[in-house]
Symmetry: C2
Subunit: 322 residues, 2 copies
């Protein structure tokens, strides 16, 4: 599916990130450079119109040649069909892909959000120079993607890489996927907030208790309070890191990729999360495997999905042209 | 490393299985057919001499051209060096590979036992016709191997595929690898026996209680009693299957390979173990991934390691020849 040649820098495409409650769209050059970005709260009921509007805003004098969308769900990029998306039901509608093409007037590529982000990091971010990476998207959901020699590993059905649904606690709580105790049930952004809420009453000295009186807090609040030295917030990040590290150890032992890249909004916590992840992964993996797999933070940050989706759209478009 | 052409049928090589307390050696034709087999209790302190003796026994008028050994540990087949083997410390001795070549007078290939078995199934067993398989060796230890387009996935260090050390119970018992609660700590042959022993006192009506008075029982005893209708033995297999199925679900969600093949002595239980494995894997994996990944029993059974090791030795030897 991918050509091996680089996409010319002057070829501009648009990448759209539908992985969370805020829609981000970026105009991206052929080398992965982000030229302009816009964001707005996701309009679930009018996605096509919203994306068309943002694309028009990004298109300058030199029109983008294609548009790539990263979304949380099981996606077939060839057909543009979305088979399962527990977080974005609107995308599962038949005709969603055609609707986006008609609304934007551009060739549209749909891709799983973690696959898109992984590809972005591989080409233009923390994966550069590695032959084989595993990318973990720690966001509103948790996704994963394996890239080997430039190819996204899709598996027999096309949906491989579902890192967020590795079982971490066999007797844990129900996940939207049907399983119980998935990593996602404890370490996605909303579930970190849920766990923090549930445990807050045990520690009324935390600054998060005061926040919780007036409004719901977010994972970014937890990160900020942890940076300000709040012990309880630090503890919640530490425990979250241990859950994630347990699943990372499985990737190390099974795949022993050259690099594991962690991104998504949860990774705004930086080393406060990365350190416990690495500690737990070391504790739970084979030493020779651990020592040869680097665990690093995303370099593209919240632009990983947009950059990857834009580059994948550029490649597909280039291949399709005569 | 592998040539793509088939190994001529008349080329005979010897495969040796060091994965358990019984050493098995087989003379194998180029198409994977087992021509003759011998087995004997493993002589840990005189492995070289024992393997040479068994090879001589197998060599008929037409001498085998190479010998492959599958063993439990982290192995570099290129150098013949064994980096870590918790179950077979003798193989870690520097010079082990040279010693085997000198004792047998044959070119020797060392390979991880699960990798060898996976290759055997891929070429001549339950993996035939699949492009991408994951093989699970459920024996005295638990190993795994991923084969893609005829290549064993080795990862950055060469030691990928360590399926037995996926964490199943984060608060479980200590594993020899350093982690706690690995799949191997509950589902390897000795650990199935240990768990059965520990729970036996709760169910004195089981026929295993009578066995336990006079001697230690084995996983084969548990399987036999389960086949004879012993409820407790059935329950132990059912629970073991659920542990294995939980880890299999991770492979399905992450890799979504075409086929997962289960082998090793523990799989002598056949459908008594396979059924609960499949049930739990279905419960814990994404439906589209589950539906496109077949879960099947090994076809080569206890010859998987010998056949795979022999075929890998044949290929290496063929490639090395002018």
């Amino acid at each position: 599916m991918h050509t091996d040649g680089p996409v010319p820098t002057e070829k501009r495409t648009i990448g759209v990130d539908l992985s969370g409650p805020v829609l981000r769209a970026s105009l991206v050059a052929g080398d992965g450079t982000v030229l302009r970005s816009v964001e707005a709260p996701l309009e679930r009921d009018a996605l096509g119109a919203q994306i068309a509007r943002m694309a028009a805003e990004l298109n300058g004098e030199q029109r983008a040649s294609a548009l790539g969308v990263g979304l949380p769900g099981l996606v077939d990029p060839q057909s543009g069909r979305v088979y399962l998306s527990t977080d974005l039901a609107a995308a599962m509608r038949e005709g969603f892909h055609a609707e986006l093409e008609s609304a934007t007037g551009l060739p549209v590529l749909l891709e799983n959000d973690a696959n898109a982000a992984a590809y972005g990091e591989y080409v233009a971010g923390a994966g550069r120079g590695s032959r084989c990476i595993f990318y973990v998207l720690l966001g509103y959901g948790i996704g994963g993607a394996l890239i080997f020699d430039g190819h996204i590993w899709r598996g027999a059905s096309g949906f491989a890489g579902e890192f967020g649904h590795i079982t971490i606690d066999p007797d844990g709580i129900q996940c939207a996927c049907g399983n119980v105790g998935c990593l996602e049930t404890v370490a996605s952004a909303p579930n970190i907030v849920r766990r923090t809420h549930e445990r807050l009453f045990r520690d009324s000295t935390s600054s998060l208790s005061k926040l919780a009186i007036n409004r719901d807090f977010t994972v970014s609040d937890i990160t900020r309070e942890a940076r300000n030295g709040d012990d309880f917030a630090l503890l919640m990040l530490e425990r979250t890191g241990r859950y994630i590290g347990t699943a990372i150890a499985a990737i190390i032992n099974l795949l022993n990729v050259e690099r594991i890249i962690l991104g998504g909004i949860v990774m705004e916590a930086g080393e406060l999360l990365l350190d416990p992840i690495i500690r737990e992964a070391r504790r739970r993996s084979f030493q020779p495997c651990f020592e040869t797999t680097e665990i690093v933070a995303s370099r593209l940050g919240l632009e990983a999905v947009t950059v990857g989706a834009a580059l994948l759209a550029a490649r597909k478009n280039q291949t399709a042209e005569p």
